[in-house]
Structures are given as C-alpha cells and as structure tokens.
Symmetry: C2
Subunit: 407 residues, 2 copies
C-alpha cells in the first residue's frame, strides 16, 4: 500500500465537485458532490445519538435497503437536524433533484448535512446547488480538493487522502475526505467522512471491514465529548479497478483492510488534531492491558479529560490529571503498578511508576508537551492488549468558537 | 426547618478554625480543623475513582472501622494523591499529631487534602499547622467562616451553611462547609464537603440517609466531567442536642432527612455555580420520565455538554446542543414527543416541541440565558419521575485557570 496524491475522486470512475450555493454564508464553498460512473455497493456507520438528523435517517435507509448507491450530495451551514417532517421532505427533494440531473434513481443518492441544528434548509438554494454540482463534477485533482473544502465548517484545513494497493496485479485505489471539528465524539463514526474505492468487493464484506475498523479509528477520537446528531461515515465501492473480488480469509482481504484502516486512522487523527481551537494533537496509547476493550476505555478517558486537555494547552506536566482520568474511566488497572511516559520527537520520559511521580525534569516534560503531537504512553502491565485514542488540547479558541457559533 | 446564621461549628459542641500554614502559597489560610467536644458517629461517601488519594483511603478506614470520630484536619495546596506509601505515612503522622494535641485517639482523626496531585506534603509545616489549629479552635461565628475559607482552592467564595429543626421539642442544628471548584464531577460525593450536626442518630441511620441523598445532590453536579481522586463528603453527629434518637420510619426521620437534603443540595449547587471560571449556574430539570435513573442520566448529560456550556457563556439559544446532549446520554426519550423550555426570572419559554424548534424570540431567549441561573426544563412525557442536575458555563477563565494551575 502506498499513499498517492489525490482525494475522494482518485479511484477510477469517481467524480467530485465543490461549489458555492449560499446556504448560510457568502463567498465560500458549501456544497459537494461525489458521483460514481457505475453503481456502488455502499457501507455506512451512523451516529448512536437518539436524535438523528434527517440526512442520517435517509442514508441509513439507502444503505440498508437500496440495491446500490451512486452519488452523495453534502451541504454545510445547516445540519438538517431537529427539523421534523419538513427536514425529511428536504432530503427527498435533494435526492430527487440529483437523481433527475444525474439520470440515476433517487434511492441511489445519499445526502449529508452539517452545521446549525434546528434551522430548515433553504431548499431552493439546495436545488440550484445540486444542479451546479451535477454539471461541475469531474475526475480532475482540483475537483476532489474542492469537494473536501466544501464540507468544512470550523475546520482549519481540508482533509483528503488517497492510497493505492495491488490486488493480484490490479491497482486498487481508495480516496477519502472528512470534516470535523466540533461536536466530535463519534460513536459508530464521525461527523462526516466519505471514502471511495474502485475495488471490487461485496457489500457484506465491505460492511464487515468498516464496522470492525471504526471502533479503532473514528470511535477513538474526541474533541469535546459531544456525540453529534449527524455523524456519518460512508464507503462507496464501484468495482471499476476490475480486481478479482476481495474475499474474507485471503491475503488480499487483509491488505485491503489494512489500507482502509490507514485511511480511516489518518483521517480520524486529522479530525482530532484540527479540533475546534486546537493547538496540538493528543495521543494516548495504553499497552499491556488485559483486554482490548479495557485499553480503549482507559485511553479514551485520558483524551476526553478537560483538565488534561487544558494542561496540554498550558504545556504543564500535570500528570495527576492523566492518572485521575484513568482512575474514573470505568476501566481496570492497578495505580501502584502502572507506568506513565510522555513521548515526543525529543524522546520518551518516565513520569510515574510505583504509585508516585518520578524525579523527572519539569523543563524537559514541558518541552515534550509543547510539540504539535503530544503522546502519552500508559503501561498497565496486565496482558498484551493495546489501544490508541486521539484528542486535542482545550484552548481559549474552543470557547470562543462555541460561545458565538451561530452569530 | 429554617436556615440560620452559622457554619460548620453551628451545632452544639463543634469547634473550628482556619489558619495559615504555608503549605503551598503565602498569605492565605490553607489548613482547617473541625473538632467535636464529644465523640461522633461518622458517615462518609468517597470518590469512585480507582486512584484514591491517601486521605481518602485513611478516612474510608476510619469511617468503616473506628468506633467514633472526633476531629477533621484539612489542608489545601497539595492533594496527597499519587504519593504512594509516603503519602499514607503523612496521613498517619497528621492524625497522630492532632490526636496528641487534642487528647483523643489517632483513629478518631479524619484528614482531607486538596490541591496538586503528585506532590508530597511538607510534613513539618503540616505538624506545625495542626498545633496552631488545635489551639485556635473555637465555637465562635468567625472560626467557622475561617475554616470554610481555609479549604478553598480556586473557589471564588467560601461555602458555609447552617440550618435548625425541631425534633420533639429539642433544637437540632446542622452545619456545613464545602469547596470546589475544578475536577468536579462527583461520583459518590464531591471534592471536599463536611457536615456537622448535634443530632442524636445512629451511625447506620446517618449512613443510610447520606447514601440516599448524595445521588440527588452532590452526584448531580459537574463542572468539568473530571471525577477527582480526593472526593470526600463526611457527616459527623455528636448527639449533644440531646434529642430523642432519630429512627427510620418516624416523621422526625423524614424531617432530618429533608434538612440534610437541603444542606447538601444547597452546597452542591454552590459548587456548581462557583465552578472554575463560571459566570452562571446551569440547572437542567427533566420531568415526567419513566424512571428516576433515566431522568438523572438525561439531566446530567445536558449540564456536562461542553457545547451547551459554551453556548450559555455566549448567551446563545443554541437549543440543538441540548437536544444533542440528551440524545447521546444513553437515556431514553422520544425526540418527537419531548418539549424543551428555557426558564428564568423573566419567565418560561417553550423552545422545542413536535420534533422541531418553536417560533420563539431569539432576543427573549438570549435574555433568559444571560441570567446568573440558567434553567432548562425538559418534559419527556413518559411517566412521573424527575431529576435535576447542576453545572456551569464554559468560559475563557476555565481554560486560563487550568492551563496554568500549577504555576
């Protein structure tokens, strides 16, 4: 597997576009399309929030019941959540407009929205936007980037990625785009993440791989502990690479799985590192746990701790807060036996062992905490399971962004 | 029951003091004593954090195994958590010093610490402080206030309270002092809370009342979602009111329980409203739930949501964040049936019903969100259970305080 230049439309047969539709703000791209020249099998994971946005409900229905999918229409500015029956009607109208423009069935059109909860979509602008998208779609490099920019809200950078791997002599490509960056605490997947591939693979196999992978990637990040109403991760596979079909139990299955994992992990980390107001990515790795699930619980608690996040912002080696967050996580460990390390490009420091802090240098520790990627390693000495979680520091800007988000 | 002027030493036979011991900072009171002229039955609830501070372990042992308790010594500045065997030794030395000064057994001395995790106590200063406290203790009004000030850390105001009630012709008094104000997400009780009473009541009855009450008071507040390593709530009863013993199943039992509930709820709300950096107390009341536990889960999720807290700071009626927090709470409700109201001194506004926002006035809503107490009422229309949770807004000052807490 290798990383290649490209984004969501890198795989064969995929086209994309990002345009200005004036949904909420002027002078910025706010609608995107992903289109496949051939029908795709679709797999998806969606928010576990009881309050599901209308587009989440629409997409769940398509993924579960449609024979295939062929396009995705996304808008930012308004989340189409908490919008009742009117909101569902707008999903349908969006899909129908796209279907008519693209010459495909409406139940092959997935939709996605992100932005303010509670407001209704300006459906006339959406319809006009869909028409612009349908004629702007292209497989050129810039169009993929345009699409990835059009789905941004408070993100500071667009997040796209492409990888290629060989499946028995055929090149299979995977493309992706995602956006954060607040209300990020995915539980079954993230705010909005899209993955395309030209791999030939069945819906069942693709779904299995995706569901296994999100628990270690998108579900292991958090910006603010708030699980969104709109979380959606979709994977579309159109088979145009003409590889021999990827079947479970083969080396090709493992290679494809590994490539998709790389794509999901990379995008998830980018979301965490570009969390609202963030200066640094925080990574917590728990090793030698008794079970994978216990390792996940412990690691995630640390990156969710407001106090730990604020201490990283202040470059303050206040390791007691990490110990505290491990302690209230609900996970198991022995505080007398565990060890905590700070890690970074300038080295690795043992901070805590045998139930107490070590005689570490505050200055050196603060230096590690000043890096763009701050890493905590927790050795719980119970078994051989491990997990990694990713978050970001808590800054003035997080408060600023969210105290006047709607204004 | 009536609220009276007074604090932790208001009940008959209780003395208190707060003094400067120079534990970590200069020129501020940082050690407190509570002393009872007669032995007390003691009840306590302690942090559920796996990482328990040394004084928590010490107090759990005293509450569970000592025949009685008679004094509490508290220090701020250093939490004596993550301090290994040395930390436990310091608890013992503190108790032994107090015992020798006060002429009581060491296993009648409870200890409490709050402050930075990981540092060791300066035991010489602690010993000197205990001696000062032993001679300064008094039942005058000012000494109670001094004690409540000496246990403050980032609190902006001291939190003391006293109430009196009649038990068959005898006046029974309850006094209290508590401190917050970060790492507040109590799970079995709060950071540090002390309650005294001259009521005659058995240890078993007092323990039962306390354990039932904390689930609706201290366990329903949160400042930042971080459950401390040091959470301790202690109630001492010395029987000096000479009332007929309070027995379960009597009207007097209900009256005493109600009075203790008032004390705990008031102190808990004060902790939430004085959370680190807070401008406003946030209250979320869930009514007509199917079970009390479900109501608690829903209410608490709202006051813990960073995005909801930031929106209150910005006086932004971004109700979608409340809906979102209810949705990911793990509790049950139907988003199509529930109703959400904003409430304040200037009235009550219906914000959301039938699955969508109402046609409310943004200006009026923003006015309600500008009050010092911001109240959300959630009617889930499922049954007749209700619960209230309390938190505070998320402000720049929370980040500021916690980005350089140790410096």
């Amino acid at each position: 597997m290798k990383v290649i230049d490209g984004g969501i439309n890198a795989p064969i047969g995929f086209e994309a576009a990002g345009i200005e539709a004036g949904i909420k703000y002027e002078n910025r791209k706010d609608m995107a399309i992903i289109y496949s020249q051939k029908p795709c099998v679709a797999a998806g994971t969606f928010t576990s929030n009881i309050v599901k946005a209308a587009p989440v409900k629409w997409d769940m229905d398509i993924v579960n019941n449609s024979p295939y999918a062929q396009a995705v229409i996304v808008n930012t500015g308004i989340a189409n959540a908490g919008t009742g029956r009117e909101g569902m009607e707008y999903c349908k109208e969006t899909a129908e407009t796209a279907a008519s423009e693209l010459g495909i069935p409406a139940n092959a059109v997935l939709v996605g929205s992100t932005g303010v909860i509670g407001a209704q979509l300006p459906i006339d602008r959406i319809r006009a936007g869909v028409k612009k998208l349908a004629s702007a779609r292209s497989n050129d490099r810039q169009s993929g980037t345009d699409a990835s920019k059009a789905i941004m809200t408070t993100d500071t950078v667009n997040k796209e990625l492409a990888v290629a791997l060989e499946i028995k002599g055929r090149t299979v490509t995977i493309g992706a785009m995602s956006k954060g960056s607040g209300m990020i605490h995915p539980n079954m997947c993230t705010m909005l993440g899209y993955v395309t591939t030209d791999a030939k693979i069945s819906k069942e196999t693709l779904t299995k791989i995706l569901k296994e992978d999100v628990v270690d990637t998108y579900n292991m990040i958090s910006v603010d502990g708030d699980t969104s109403t709109n979380d959606t991760l979709l994977v579309l596979a159109n088979g145009m690479a003409e590889n021999e079909e990827i079947i479970e139990g083969t080396p090709e299955y493992e290679e494809f799985k590994e490539a998709l994992h790389y794509v999901n992990e990379t995008q998830a980390k980018r979301l965490a590192g570009d969390g609202e107001g963030a200066n640094a990515l925080i990574e917590c790795k728990v090793i030698n746990a008794d079970t994978k699930e216990n390792a996940r619980i412990l690691a995630k608690s640390v990156i969710c701790s407001s106090l730990t996040k604020a201490a990283v912002f202040g470059h303050d080696a206040n390791w007691g807060r990490i110990l505290c967050a491990l302690g209230y996580s609900g996970g198991r460990f022995d505080p007398e036996k565990m060890e905590l390390y700070y890690q970074g490009t300038s080295g690795s420091m043992l901070i805590y062992k045998d139930g107490a802090g070590t005689d570490y240098s505050e200055e050196e520790a603060s230096k590690l905490l000043s890096e763009k990627e701050v890493r905590f390693l927790v050795n719980v000495k119970m078994g051989d399971a491990s997990a990694i979680a990713w978050g970001c520091d808590l800054t003035y800007d997080y408060v600023k962004i969210n105290a006047d988000y709607r204004s």
